[in-house]
């Protein structure tokens, strides 16, 4: 029997899929030969199988670094339902005792999902290096790249951790990684050789529409027209929290038959989960959100994604529209662009990383704390409130201060010459980051301005050509909306008296 046949049988046996999807077998074969692999495949293409199957076929434990808790929970849930029991997830939700239990029984698992934050613990890394690691996987690997949208310092430390684990084979997976990002991933992981499997990322069931408007009223009118045709799961992206909130009120008034809510990084933690899960559960039709919403959302029947504001880069745009039509059915991506819209993302870019004077103040205060013999508090919150900068800015600075040995554990190590040098370096680096981001924004603006095919323009940075769309291509190629008839019914939430509701929740049946 040929080797590929054997693999297909394993796929059938463990996952009940009768064949591999594009890219899966190629990646799995390389992984099984202990090669380092970089896989770039579009969202929904089935990247998880690329490590889930090998984990069962290889000797030892497969570690998967995953950026989102809800992603891990979803995956573990899906695996368990397929009778894959030797899997576990470690993240901040797992209580102390349970964590200890997992640490003690590591060798009983084949697959371990872990958040990058938890993987930083020295003690745990020691524990891991005492057992055989068959494969080290980095999911959403663009998070490693300084050019990725989600700057997370903990991801940048993965290279060092891989080394501590005696360099097991590495599999880095991402849905959006332009060539520059790919190079950055490889460099940050300190990998000498790597085999790349890059697949086209165009989605043939998406139709791209850009509408230029001159007033906000026009935007709202277009938005409600599309929502009116659709009446089912939809996402509307905004670049500010307050606008997302305000639009909910407008939509509830204008389209009372739709259930609408907002989601952004500032809402209460319980609400964050409740809103996201209401949407998954068809209790909600439309979410007005910021870019904080969506990673790991695996809802198959989203038919409409509206960008009320222009995203800051093509990668972000591709990720956000990628949440539409996961089931392969025709879906529409509508981008609304008004004349004054560029100011917002420009402003965001300029305020994302700390300014020169902010860095100066933080460094002065740190120096002073050091001189007073004070230790850094355990909770970061106390620090960034004291320095009056945002959490993101502080995490960014802390990462660099630690990297340069200015902060070691809880202590501040002051050296005037070195601190001066780091100060200059940081400012230079931030400037180059900001101009890079502005350039990315320019690409996005070019997309809005172009008269060429939008599909081609969107994907040209990543690949040559694209597959023929199954519905209509884009507004520049010409579209006829009368043909778009998604059949979905709006969400319903029955209103029953509290006692019945409570009985239904707890006792069941009424």
């Amino acid at each position: 029997m040929s080797k590929t046949m054997q693999l297909e049988q394993k796929l059938e046996r463990y996952f009940q899929y009768d064949q591999f999807r594009k890219g899966q077998r190629e990646i799995i074969e390389d992984v099984l030969q202990a090669k380092n692999v970089l896989g770039v495949l579009p969202t929904g293409s089935g990247k998880s199988i690329c490590y889930q199957l090998p984990s069962l076929l290889m000797d030892g434990l497969t570690i998967v670094v995953s950026p989102l808790i809800s992603l891990m929970i979803d995956q573990v849930k899906e695996l368990r339902s397929k009778n894959f029991k030797r899997v576990v997830a470690l993240n901040s939700l797992v209580g102390y005792e349970e964590r200890q239990f997992i640490y003690q029984h590591l060798n009983q698992y084949k697959l371990l999902y872990i958040s990058p934050e938890l993987l930083q613990q020295e003690q745990f890394i020691k524990k891991l290096s005492s057992i055989k690691i068959s494969l080290f996987v980095i999911d959403e690997a663009h998070c490693i790249s300084q050019w990725g949208h989600d700057f997370r310092p903990d991801y940048l430390k993965l290279g060092a951790i891989i080394k501590q684990l005696e360099s097991p084979p590495v599999l880095a997976l991402s849905a959006t990684a332009a060539p520059a990002v790919q190079e950055d991933i490889i460099e940050n992981l300190h990998l000498k050789t790597i085999t790349k499997h890059i697949y086209p990322m165009d989605r043939k069931n998406l139709t791209f529409i850009i509408e230029k408007v001159s007033t906000i009223h026009e935007k709202i009118e277009l938005m409600t027209t599309y929502l009116g045709k659709h009446l089912g799961p939809a996402l509307i992206y905004f670049s500010s929290r307050i606008q997302a909130e305000n639009m909910v009120e407008t939509l509830r008034r204008m389209m009372p038959s739709l259930k609408v809510a907002f989601y952004h990084g500032g809402i209460d933690p319980v609400d964050r989960i409740q809103i996201q899960q209401q949407f998954m559960n068809d209790q909600l039709d439309v979410i007005c959100c910021t870019s904080a919403f969506g990673m790991g959302i695996n809802k198959s029947n989203i038919r409409l994604i509206i960008h009320f504001h222009i995203p800051s880069q093509i990668e972000a745009y591709i990720q956000e529209v990628g949440r539409a039509g996961r089931d392969g059915k025709p879906s529409i991506c509508l981008l609304l662009f008004g004349v004054g819209d560029i100011a917002i993302p420009k402003n965001i870019i300029e305020n994302e990383l700390p300014h020169e004077d902010e860095i100066r103040v933080v460094m002065q205060q740190l120096k002073q704390m050091g001189e007073e013999g004070l230790e850094l508090p355990v909770r970061d919150l106390e620090l960034y409130e004291r320095f009056q900068i945002s959490e993101t800015k502080w995490r960014f600075l802390r990462f660099h201060f630690e990297k340069h040995g200015m902060i070691m554990a809880k202590n501040i190590v002051y050296d005037p010459i070195q601190w001066q040098r780091v100060f200059r370096q940081l400012n230079k680096w931030i400037q180059s980051r900001n101009s890079y981001k502005k350039q990315e924004l320019e690409e996005m603006i070019d997309l809005v301005e172009t008269t060429a095919c939008l599909r081609e323009t969107i994907y040209k940075k990543f690949q040559k050509g694209y597959s023929t769309p199954i519905f209509q291509c884009c507004s520049n190629c010409g579209i006829d909306l009368s043909k778009w008839a998604p059949s979905v019914k709006p969400a319903r939430d029955e209103e029953i008296p509290w006692k019945d509701k409570l009985r239904k929740l707890l006792v069941g049946g009424i």
């Binding site: 929970i73 939700l93 933690p269 319980v270 409740q274 809103i275 899960q277 409570l502 707890l506």
Partner: protein
Amino acid sequence: MSCLIFTGIILTIAKNISQERSVSSIYNLLVGSKNIQTIQDAYIFGIQNYYGVYKGLEKSRFDEKIQELTQLGLLIEKARENSRKFIAYTEQADYWLSEHQQRLPLHYFQGIVYEEKASLFYERLLLLIQTLSNIKENNFNFIPVIHQSDAERFVRNVYNQKKANKNQYIQKLYEELVDLLEDLPEVEANLFVDRLSGFGHYGKSIEQLATTYNKSKDDVILTLVGVSHQFIRKIESEKNTYHVLFEMVADLQTPSRLTDSARKTYELFLRDFTPEEIAHKRHLKLNTIYDHLAEIALYDSAFPFSSFVTETEAEEIMHAIEHTESYKLKVIKDAVPSDISFFQIRLMLVFKHKFREGGGQFV
């Protein structure tokens, strides 16, 4: 959109502090600042029931609300002292309060005793209901709405202990909750239940509740907090009726409010070090140690006031407090001989509060 509870609480506090403290002291009280001044004030002005009842309140929202009440003529802005703003309660506010008294569930709140307990209890309850509702349907993989280790530990323990007869436990929990909820006005009971998540169903967000019940978000949050306080009070006073629910609060202590740093000072103080020696040992300013001592004085029933204030000084201060009818340190300080310190005045304010009903011994 009604915002009665929030308004009612702010006006009640403003009435009690009657210009003795700045506006931001109201904010500190509502969010439950651990600052000793806030806790002392809470007792001194008799507003401890509102301590920590609105922990997530943002400063900007608070300022906006104060401005709104000022525009409505319910509060008036008084003098500013070095950028600290003072406000006064108006006659109109008095009218407003008596007008709305009936509809304001202000008696629910018992901030100083329950603020911490109530939030733990509420988190436990949300997670417990969601978990039981799911495992009853044999669904062990759901996204929990609460990520707090206390609630997780609690629910895990309950699950392990009650697994064998979980249906009975669930039935009992249901009955006890119904019993509590039936005592509430219909709207409050509905609002409380609408927030709950369970099998195949996720509860409403604060904002969704606000829209459904035509209340401000502030009032939704305060209603949930108030109802939790009310629940705990009933559960604790009728342990035998609320068997299952009592287990949810039994291990929750009312916290000792000494800050960590004050506790270290306290340990040294108990070993008879003087304030100067403690400051030296701990590399802290003497004034910081005095702050700690004022904090300790509030909780330590055997605090030796007389080691810091002589009997004559105590009389001077008490007299000044009565004479000026003020709790403002600065005002009192101006009315006593100049060798009496702010620290001594603070201690006497604590003393006065602790032994308000007389009977206290100046030892």
